[in-house]
Every structure is written in C-alpha cells, then in structure tokens.
Symmetry: C2
Subunit: 196 residues, 2 copies
DNA sequence: GTCTATATCATGATAGAC
DNA sequence: GTCTATCATGATATAGAC
C-alpha cells in the first residue's frame, strides 16, 4: 500500500481536506479542489454527487484521523496528568487551527445535519476520553476525589479550541501554549500532594 | 439620538455586522448586505470603497461593543471570583458563537493586517482585563498567591471561545456552560480557604 | 473513467441616469 | 445621495466526446 500513487478519488478527498482546513466550506470552490488535486472536473462528478458530498467524505476522514491521533496522545505511558499534558502540548500547526473545530462555524455545515455528525461525534468522544483519564487519575489517587471530571474534561477540550482562536487573532502560536499552560496549572491544583 | 431612524450608512454597518456574525466574511455577499439593509447598491459604494472597507468598519464597531460589554460584566460589584463568573456566565446567544472569535478563522480576514487588528486588540484587552481581576483577587487574599494570573487569564478567555465551538458542534448551548463550569471549578481550587 | 465544452446563476464592482 | 443598468468573473453543475 505505502508508496502507491494516490488514485483520483483519493486525491480529491485529500485536496478537499486541505482546502476545508484552510478556507472552510463556503470558502472552498470545486474549481480550487480540482486544481489542487490535478484532476479534471468530470472525475469529481463521477465519484461524488457534488461539493457537499465530497466535503462530507473529507470531514469524515478528518474526524477519524483526529480520533486516532488523540487516542495515541492519550494512551502514551505516564500518569493521568502527563497523558493530558501530552495531548494538550502535542505538536500542532497552531495557526492553521483545528480542522474539525473550524467547520462548526461554517454556516452551511452548521445547517446540515449529516455534516455536523462527525464534528459532534469527535468532540463527544474527545470529552469522554479526557473524562476517562481524569477518572483514572482519581481512582489511582493522583487527583483529589473532589475533581469534577466531566465539566473539567469539557473545559480542557474548550481550552484547546479557544487556544487556536486566540493564537490566530494574534498571529502567534504562543497564545495557544499560554492558554494550555494556564489550564494545566489550574489542573495541577487538584493533584494530591503525596500519593500513597 | 435615541429613537432616530438609522440613516443609510448606519443601516449598512449594522446589516454587515449581523451577516459577518452569521456567515463570516467569505460567506457574506454585498447583495445580501444591501438586501438586509434595504439599501440600493449605489449607496454602499458611495459610503464605502467596497465589501472589505465596509467589513472593516463593522468589525471595528463589534470590537468596541464587545469591550464595553466585557468591561461592564467585569466591573460589577463582588469578589474577583464573582466578577469572573459574572463574565463567563453572562447571558449569551451561545449557538451564534462569538462575533469576534469567528472572524479569526476566516481566511481573507486572517490574511489582512488591518482586518486582524481589532480582533487581536480585543483579545489582548480581554486577557489583560482578566489578569487584572485575578491579580486583584491575589492582592486581596481571595486567591492563593501561587495562582499564575497571566496564563490562567488566557486559559479563561480560551474556554469561552472553545465553549462556543463545542456548543455549535453539538447544537447545544449546555456544552458552553459545562466548559465554563469546569473552568470555574478549577479556579475555585485556588480560592483561599479562609480570608484573613 | 477522464476530459472538455457549456449552461446558469451569483459575485463584486462600475457607469451613468435621476 | 440613491437608483437601476451593466459588466467581467467565478461558482456549481451538466452534457457529451473520447
């Protein structure tokens, strides 16, 4: 499989993923997709019903890939706190923003039930995963038992999404890191002084 | 002034503000602006040089209004923690998202130096304001002195922006409230047990 | 399967009448 | 100042050749 040249359909999906990330749905034209994929117009309408159908396939793949990435970050060895830090501080192309999060702001995506499904699913899954790690930490005596894992998990997911926004406003990835550091400092307040 | 009918220029700016909020810059056409403002095409090009010039005026006004709103939230009576909660839990049209934050994701806005200026300015100002309130709380003995106010201020600003994203993904404003509650619970860990 | 017309409509801006 | 043509361009989809 590896090293195999991408076939036409594949190039269309990858081209669309890149453009949706950069420009969103309303900002991406079929012509730009075809140009980037080096594919003629006919091919797109052969494999897909149109722009929205192609975008759906692209978003579903992006959602799947993001879940894989998060799972990898969070299943690294180490304490619960370290695993969460590992996710929050993973190397990112911060100024490009989140390929999933940015789609939620697109008016046409927001209005489409099937288009929102992978986005909602990804964030539900992320929050649930973070909550699981926090719960593990509580069970292992790493975090104090009063840590409210569900809202804190949601807050952590929000800090990542909001960190992208602050960084883009300033054209400075350091704003993302600062937000994440602030969240980790707050979370560190719930780490037990001494494990038994 | 009050009760005065909006003049043409004013209607154009307000119409643009509403549409930028709903659809972003690339998703908003001059025709839609004119239609909503009930204004003819000629008027727009009389008062403004074009779409981008009008959008600039609209974003600057939105930024100004947001800063006024935040200042009002955060200068309410009460402890530092209460003032921060008052900002975070202010009544919002959560599913519409943040009119400033959403613009940062727009590719054309992001690429334009003057367009980004009011966005960057607003978030800088917000983080600085939050940091000031946290510092006050430390000075008054409300927060423990180890609270790192700058990164925590950035994290709080990020939670708000990210809360909008999570809420829109789920079409459920409760996700915003959950994120904000998580952040407040974390912050509460830094409130001194007993003030002197 | 992939390509090149082609059709239709929207976009963003201009010109010129009133 | 405001309006209604008008224009060049691009967006989205279809048709039909190869």
């Amino acid at each position: 499989m590896y090293g195999m040249a991408m076939d036409t359909r594949e190039r269309l999906v990858e081209s669309t993923r890149a453009l949706l990330w950069e420009r969103g749905y309303v900002g991406t034209s079929p012509a730009a997709i075809l140009d980037r994929a080096q594919v003629g117009q006919g091919s797109m309408y052969h494999y897909f019903r149109g722009k929205s159908d192609l975008a759906q396939a692209a978003m579903e793949r992006t959602a799947d890939e993001m879940k894989r990435q998060i799972a990898a970050d969070m299943s690294a060895p180490g304490t619960a706190f370290e695993r969460i830090r590992s996710y929050l501080h993973r190397e990112r192309d911060v100024l490009k923003g989140c390929p999933i999060g940015r789609m939620t702001l697109d008016p046409e995506v927001y209005a489409s039930e099937p288009a929102c499904e992978p986005l909602d699913d990804t964030f539900q899954w992320l929050c649930e995963t973070l909550r699981g790690v926090l719960e593990e930490g509580k069970r292992d005596g790493e975090f104090v038992s009063s840590l409210p894992s569900a809202p804190v998990a949601t807050a952590l997911a929000a800090v990542v999404q909001g960190g992208y926004v602050l960084a883009r406003a300033a054209h400075d990835p350091a704003r993302f890191d600062e937000a994440v550091d602030g969240a980790l400092e707050l979370l560190a307040g719930f780490v037990r002084r001494s494990h038994d």
